[in-house]
């Protein structure tokens, strides 16, 4: 018998079965999360099905309001209220309201996400928590409502692909460029439904923020989860916040992988995903000069302090002012990021440069909040999706790193940082 991959180990522990790729198992959940998007649907479904029965474990349920925070329309306000009232009724203590920020990041900062945990949520980017070795997965209404009732869900244990990076790269290339590089290289018909495990020196060298960037875009690779084994620094960071001793889940040496790939990223250069697909990736220099109307720095992919710091530094180095015809929107992922950014002088840099800094949350990225685009508008975003019309009918979006986004804002056209 060969050994197990990380996902096989996690799902074996959580199902109490000997789980192997291809098996269908019922796994116990550590946390089932809803947002103000999906949340009301889950609450209504739960109430319809369970008729006032108590939830499985109120401490293993969390609500995070980041989709439209604060509410843009009455319907969303009411949806948020439906969630708050349900939480009050069922004694759910973990409600992270409109003042907290992007859900997964908040839960991570709160010490609620541990390596090896199984977490589900109404967010297709839930799986970014694979950055700390958690099996976190986006789910729809019915799954989460069922999880609230029973604490378990069925999973098809995914096959795993082992991806090893080698080589090194320098600024201005970043974790985002590594991520876009991978998107351009892999075949999503092969990664669909799979668990990816990331290894190699370039991965070891990534900070938590960089790991979150990579893991968040496994969704765009159609993967189920992208797992990175947390290093000592990250383990102690989580340990401090959770108040628990935490260990990483490691794969067996003889684990069997569906595929093993190696990528040399030596000399990686800044990349950009062109309309209308995240894997339509080109070197920035090839599309440099493209006119841009709006720039966004933020999202669950690039909304951490370090992302904002890089953007602010580029703005400063390139003269401190964005181009007059460009709108730049900056959104910190969470309250913690916002406070750190204010105290480090980043807000001052952004505001003086002519950018708008919005409240923490998903902001522009979740459609219909903070900077919808008009027909013909072109956006460069640090987010993770550039599907046609997502941010306004007839608009186009490019995806790039915070450094490229900031340089682009200064030049008013797609540009490399100086």
């Amino acid at each position: 018998m060969p050994g197990k991959t990380i996902i096989e180990k996690i799902l074996s522990v959580h199902s109490g079965e000997d789980a192997w790729a291809g098996d269908r198992v019922w796994a116990d959940l550590d946390l089932a999360v809803v947002r103000d998007f999906g949340g009301p649907n889950v609450v209504l479904e739960y109430e319809k099905q369970m008729d006032g029965e108590p939830v499985w474990d109120p401490h293993k349920i969390a609500m995070t309001f980041d989709y439209q925070a604060p509410a843009k329309v009455v319907q969303v306000a009411n949806n948020q209220r439906i969630c708050r009232e349900f939480a009050a009724k069922h004694g759910i203590p973990h409600v992270f309201d409109v003042n907290c920020g992007v859900g997964q990041h908040v839960l991570l900062e709160q010490g609620m996400i541990l390596p090896g945990s199984v977490v589900i949520g109404t967010d297709s980017h839930m799986n970014l928590l694979g950055a700390v070795g958690s099996f976190s997965s986006g789910m729809g209404t019915t799954d989460v409502a069922a999880a609230w009732a029973t604490g378990r869900l069925w999973f098809r244990v995914p096959e795993s692909i082992k991806i090893t990076f080698k080589g090194s790269y320098d600024y201005p290339a970043s974790a985002k460029d590594l991520t876009l590089f991978l998107l351009s290289k892999i075949d999503t018909t092969k990664t669909i439904y799979k668990a990816l495990e990331f290894y190699g020196e370039p991965i070891d060298g990534l900070s938590l923020a960089g790991r979150l960037t990579l893991a968040s875009m496994v969704t765009e690779m159609e993967g189920k989860i992208g797992l990175i084994i947390p290093d000592e620094d990250i383990l102690s960071w989580i340990g401090e916040r959770s108040g628990r001793k935490v260990d990483a889940v490691l794969p067996d040496r003889d684990a069997s992988y569906w595929e093993e790939r190696e990528f040399d990223i030596g000399g990686l250069e800044p990349l950009i995903a062109c309309p209308d697909r995240p894997d339509n990736v080109k070197p920035v220099r090839e599309v440099a000069g493209t006119h841009v109307d709006q720039v966004f720095v933020g999202s669950c992919t690039n909304g951490r302090f370090e992302d904002l710091r890089v953007a602010a530094e580029v703005l400063k180095r390139m003269g401190g002012k964005i181009a007059p015809q460009v709108r730049m929107i900056v959104t910190p992922a969470t309250t913690e990021v916002a406070v750190e950014a204010v105290e480090a002088g980043l807000y001052e840099t952004f505001i003086k440069a002519g950018a708008m800094v919005t409240n923490q949350g998903c902001s522009l990225c979740t459609i219909g909040h903070h900077g919808v685009l008009a027909e013909g508008d072109v956006l460069v975003s640090t987010g993770n999706r550039n599907f046609r019309g997502k941010l306004g009918k007839g608009s186009e979006a490019y995806l790039a790193s915070p450094a490229v986004a900031a340089a682009t804002a200064v030049k008013g056209e797609i540009a490399l940082p100086e």
């Binding site: 986006g138 789910m139 799954d143 159609e222």
Partner: protein, 172 residues
């Protein structure tokens, strides 16, 4: 549906990578009433803007690779379900969309090569038990992946909750 698992209907063919914003745009996410959600099905798929006016009960949606990529929104399944679309047959599905359809008891089938074998308007017979698609208009057949035991059980129960309730009753 639960008995036969065989559907006959007209085909609507769409391409690869039809994402959740195209199936059900994010600006309609605040809606919670399925009848209201139904009004916006496929609105952002180029050429399908008037789908909801033209779709007939029992029609079958045929899609390319990676249907339903993007968001976890269950609205994307519900909006099709409430237009009385009988089933979706695609080269492949994005994983959350797939789960959502199973959990809502909405028949979906992965069939490699289906978009090459079918044109919009063709009369199809879909057998979800065997994974076989008969194109009655063209007189051709394509073989897909039949549903696995668990997914089929959930679907035939009429969705995840009904399945779990049966399960809970058995346990008691």
């Amino acid at each position: 549906m639960t008995d036969s698992f065989v559907f006959k209907g007209r085909a609507w063919v769409v391409g690869d990578d039809i994402d959740t914003d195209m199936i059900y745009h994010g600006s309609y996410l605040p809606l919670t009433d399925p009848q209201e959600m139904a009004k916006h099905a496929l609105e952002y798929v180029p050429g399908m803007e008037d789908f909801t006016d033209r779709v007939q009960p029992g029609d079958i949606l045929v899609a390319g690779r990676n249907f339903g990529s993007g968001s976890s929104r269950e609205h994307a399944v519900i909006t099709l379900q409430y237009n009385d679309v009988a089933a979706i047959v695609a080269e492949s599905f994005s994983r959350i969309f797939y789960r959502n359809a199973v959990n809502l008891g909405f028949p979906i089938l992965e069939v490699a090569g289906v978009t090459r074998a079918v044109e919009t308007g063709d009369e199809l017979e879909v057998d979800a038990n065997t994974g076989r698609i008969c194109n009655l208009t063209k007189g051709t057949e394509v073989q897909g992946t039949p549903l696995s035991g668990l997914e089929k059980e959930i679907m035939t129960s009429g969705g995840l909750f009904n399945f779990l309730k049966k399960d809970m009753q058995t346990a008691e």
